[in-house]
Symmetry: C2
Subunit: 142 residues, 2 copies
């Protein structure tokens, strides 16, 4: 049986995050020692590893909840899991497109900056006047 600390180390999670996942029902309530400390088994380790891996791939906790649910029902068709992953891919591709536009614009701003006084700073000038932008960047709400 693992303490919360060793589970945290094994999965690269913070202790508080594990308690948070328990609180929101993503991780089950584990057994406790007489003194009230949490003790985890291998199932918990697998589940947490799954969650962390999905988080690394950018899935939201809600999406992960669905994926875990599907994972618990091996007889169900896998269309749903596929759909969740496709949705995630789409989001990633949208964010990529936006970030690429951003990169272009930032590079241009910096490249044009002469290093003089802020009065002549291209960085500030471009920020002041959107019409100087070439790309259709829009990162807000991304």
């Amino acid at each position: 049986m693992l303490t919360i600390g060793s589970l945290a180390r094994k999965t690269g999670t913070k202790v508080q995050t594990i308690r948070y996942y328990e609180q929101i029902g993503l991780m089950p309530e584990p057994g406790r020692t007489e003194g009230g400390q949490r003790r985890y088994g291998d199932d918990d380790l697998d589940r947490l590893a799954f969650i962390r891996h999905a988080r690394q791939l950018g899935f939201s906790l809600e999406a992960i909840r669905e994926l875990l649910d599907l994972s618990d029902h091996p007889d169900r068709p896998c269309l749903e899991a596929d759909a969740i992953a496709r949705r995630q891919l789409k989001q990633v591709e949208q964010r990529l497109a936006r970030l690429e536009a951003l990169r272009t614009e930032l590079k241009r701003m910096i490249h044009e900056c002469s290093g003089g006084q802020t009065a002549d700073c291209r960085v500030l000038e471009v920020l002041r006047d959107h019409s100087e932008c070439l790309t259709d960047h829009d990162e807000i709400g991304a």
Copy 2:
């Protein structure tokens, strides 16, 4: 003089967001009508446009605060503004790299999914076993 609503429309900002910027000191307290409604001038319009544009380029409100401060002092050297922009570019490039790795992995997962039962679903399988990943994706805390 502009009402908060027309300022919002002109800058593509929500009314509540403008009040929020005022609350955190990013926008100055505007004049008021006798009835207590906010009224804005052209300076406010410029400042808010600057803020929104910087937000679109992904700058944090703290970075924007610094940029606005620099913008208010045209005699100071522009090294600082340049540094802020470079920092931002670096962040954008890091996020791009991570997202590209993510996209690769997601595509592979989806591509390999046969569409059968969740028991055989590659999407779920990959999530279960990180060692099946080819890329060094890590989007958490990005």
